[in-house]
Amino acid sequence: MEDVLTQTKFDILRTRLTQTVLPLTEKAKEKAQALLEYSDFPTRRNEAWKYTNVNGLNKLLLDDSGSKSTELSIISKNAQRVHVVNGHIAKDQTALPGVKTSWNLLPELASEEPFDALNLLYCTAAIELNFDDVENKTIELVFENTCNSAISPRLFINCKKGAKGTVILNFQGAQDNASFINVSTYVEVEENANLSIHKIQKNGTNAFDLQREYVNQADNSTFTMNTFPLSGRMTRNDLIINVNGNNCETFMNGAYTLKGKSHCDNHTTVDHKVAHCYSKELYKGVIDDRATNVFNGKVFVRKDAQKINAFQSNANILLSDTGTVNSKPELEIYADDVKCSHGSTTGQLDEEAVFYLRSRGLSEKSAKELLVKAFLGEVLEEVEHDDVRSYVEEQIELHFLA
């Protein structure tokens, strides 16, 4: 099923992107360019893209057409907010404590990922968030995507020693928006720090959203990443967490509701490099219509990383005859004193439960809705931020109304 538009490099896509806003050194530029020239455009022969075909990216025009305004959804009224409109930082939003948008440091490519190189070379907004206080402050980045544009924000989030912080990454796309969203987020969680990131991806039905988070955790830190891919043609998230410090806790949660022709792919990696850490991952979702969900969770436990407890779980409910679920939970363990487990289930709603609810007077539709909400509820319970939780709950309601 190779696409007609098969091509081997990133050339087509690159012609449609605009110059980076970042002050790059020649060396950094060359490095990123070299990676792009060296890399093939991903195909299904590539294990990391086995179930996800991104050829459609090359058909996006990215000509800034369309200007319908979104019904702007802000998630947390009490948060400090930065607005990014069609990829660019809204001018009047920048003078907030802990937020930097002017660039002093010269960023360089830190990964081997061609989409990260694209993000660097064609960056549309760079934002640095710093948390240095024990008071848990929330910063919300609102990405309003109304035009069919290339949107390439590069984010740096630092949670300093002993500090606490919460970040909401709120992606809101116009109904049938056809943008290419390509986000790289670099996160440092320093010693004894506690950082939570909530990511909401409510993209337009034709949008491609490819995101990567690279996270480093130092000793005694806690990091939570909650991911909610709610809509979009194609969503691909790569969450890579390096647990470099002892006594860390890591939580990864995800809930997805897919319908239409949407394709969602969550890749997560938690790499336990040292001893005495705990990680827990829970991704759950429902797949309807012709939608496809891909889950690939990797847990690495390196040699000498003893006393690791790592748990991973992925559960899917397939609601339609034409939906697809691909799940690949992986464990790679090189230390012996560990407790690791993973589980993956795919199935449908419990017919008995549906019947039971109907016998109590619920319609079939609302019975199913109730059960799906209960199914996803397990993930939502993990979300400590009230505004985020109630927003996602509301979106799940709307998902069923539509």
């Binding site: 397939l318 609601l319 691909n326 992986e330 012996d336 690791c340 993956s344 289930t345």
Partner: protein
């Protein structure tokens, strides 16, 4: 209660080294090393094969040449030099034996060392054994008794001569020569193997058993097994593998094809104990095997394997659940020690309605070894009501080894139910202490606990195989405590 105990292993526990590391000194008829069309023609003519089979071999060779060696598995090894392998080695006495008394005494001794003294087995267990040393099947027992029931159990070469239509009809239909690199190679150069046909409605009254053994130095073993269970029949097939101790790596690339027609059942059990290399990782067998079965309506195929040998193992006994209501099962114990590497698991392809599959995999890693489970559960669009349950557990004995789990789950039908669970943990300190407090030594406690851990799989094996498997587990894990 169980009729055997780990106590019976006690005596074997003293023998730390590879028990089967001896070479039988019989004359062998070898052809020159290397691989080309002439070699394939030579193999085919030595075996007096019909022209269609030679053509199949040559076609497979062409396909093989166009393929690249796969490298996706979680194993690392020096690629074999395919021109340095001798593709045919047969003991020179290839005449068929009328009775066991006629068998070369050296050969008998080999069998005795393997612990499968044929006479004894005949008397005690009623197992019919097809003994494959290097490439030619030298003896088959119980043939006449089976013949009465219409069961065909013979060497592959014999089947080619005696039952060419059956071979031609089924060979390559489950594992085509285009399937993968090693299957293509096997299709080009296979020398012998076993063939089994169970007629309609017949329940094979005894376990059919084949022992494979690589004897001559520098030879590869490319055997081919084809088991056909016609409608409503049943067969339990056992395969044991050993090889002598040698410094160089030897390649073993077998193909096994199973066909279970409507309502038929095939139980295929393997105890694989190829030479694993020494404690420094020198030598050992590369075991790259393609095993697959097709189930027609309401048929069942059950794979059970106990893998303790080989330097590198790459094998995924699979089931294509084509017919409605068919069942696939995979029970596996894979033990790796020292520098062994294993990447093994199964593929369950659900095509028919109400198809069911069960996967139970127990991996045990010790020494500096790498042990991976890799499995695919695929539910196709029309597989309404398909069910899968997978349980993959890994036990770690030291902190130098690796235990990995790579399950692929693909579902295209909403009425399917798939459950996968996996755990990885170290051997329980509390369990060891409890055993020791009751007076049981550490080595024996480990053997006891590991055997208990693998019980679900070992229970699937016929009794005499289960005992042997337990012994192998104990021997493989000796001195493995981290």
């Amino acid at each position: 209660m169980a009729q055997y105990t780990e106590n019976e292993l006690a005596k074997d526990l003293d023998k730390q080294d590879y028990k089967f590391g001896f070479v039988t000194d019989v004359e062998t008829d070898k052809i020159p090393e290397g691989l080309n069309e002439d070699i394939i023609r030579l193999i085919s003519s030595k075996k007096n094969e019909p022209s269609w089979l030679l053509e199949y071999r040559l076609k497979s060779f062409e396909i093989w040449k166009s393929m690249a060696e796969p490298n996706w598995a979680h194993v690392r090894y020096k690629k074999p030099d395919f021109q340095k392998i001798i593709y045919y080695a047969a003991p020179t006495q290839t005449k068929k034996y009328e009775s066991w008394d006629d068998v070369d005494p050296e050969m008998k001794e080999t069998m005795a060392k393997l612990g499968i003294s044929l006479e004894e087995q005949k008397k005690l267990t009623g197992v019919a054994v097809d003994f494959v040393m290097d490439s030619v099947s030298v003896a088959t027992s119980f043939k006449s008794k089976l013949k009465e029931l219409g069961i065909i159990f013979c060497s592959f070469s014999e089947a080619v001569q005696e039952y060419p239509e059956l071979v031609k009809e089924h060979m390559g239909t489950v594992v085509p020569n285009t399937d993968n690199f090693y299957a293509a190679l096997n299709s080009a150069v296979f020398t012998d193997g076993s063939f089994c046909y169970i007629p309609k409605g017949v329940r094979c009254p005894m376990e059919l058993s084949t022992y494979f053994r690589i004897n001559a130095g520098g030879t590869g073993q490319f055997e081919r097994t084809l088991v056909i269970a016609d409608e409503g029949s049943y067969v339990s097939y056992l395969e044991g593998c050993t090889a002598p101790q040698r410094d160089e790596n030897q390649l073993h690339a077998a193909v096994v094809e199973l066909k279970a027609m409507n309502d038929a059942e095939i139980k295929y059990s393997t105890v694989q104990n190829w030479y694993p290399g020494d404690e420094n990782g020198l030598g050992g067998i590369f075991n790259f095997v393609t095993k697959r079965g097709i189930c027609e309506t309401n048929a069942k195929i059950s794979w059970t394997q106990v893998e303790t040998g080989s330097a590198v193992t790459w094998k995924y006994p699979s089931c294509i659940l084509k017919g409605d209501g068919s069942i696939g099962e995979f029970y596996s114990v894979a033990v790796t020690n020292n520098y062994q590497q294993a990447d093994t698991g199964t593929k369950m392809i659900h095509l028919g309605k109400r198809t069911k599959s069960t996967i139970i995999s127990k991996g045990i890693s010790a020494g500096n070894s790498e042990n991976s489970y890799r499995g695919l559960v695929q539910i196709q669009k029309n597989a309404h009501g398909a069910r899968n349950f997978s349980q993959c557990d890994s036990l770690l004995m030291t902190d130098h080894c690796g235990a990995h789990t790579f399950p692929y789950i693909e579902c295209k039908n909403p009425s399917a139910q798939i459950e996968h669970e996996a755990t990885t943990s170290k051997i329980g300190e509390d369990q060891l202490f409890y055993c020791k407090q009751r007076g049981i030594s550490e080595e024996k406690a480990i053997s006891l606990i590991v055997n208990g851990y693998c019980k679900e799989v070992l229970n699937q094996l016929p009794m005499e195989f289960a005992v042997e498997a337990q012994k192998l587990l104990a021997i493989s894990l000796e001195g493995s405590v981290g």
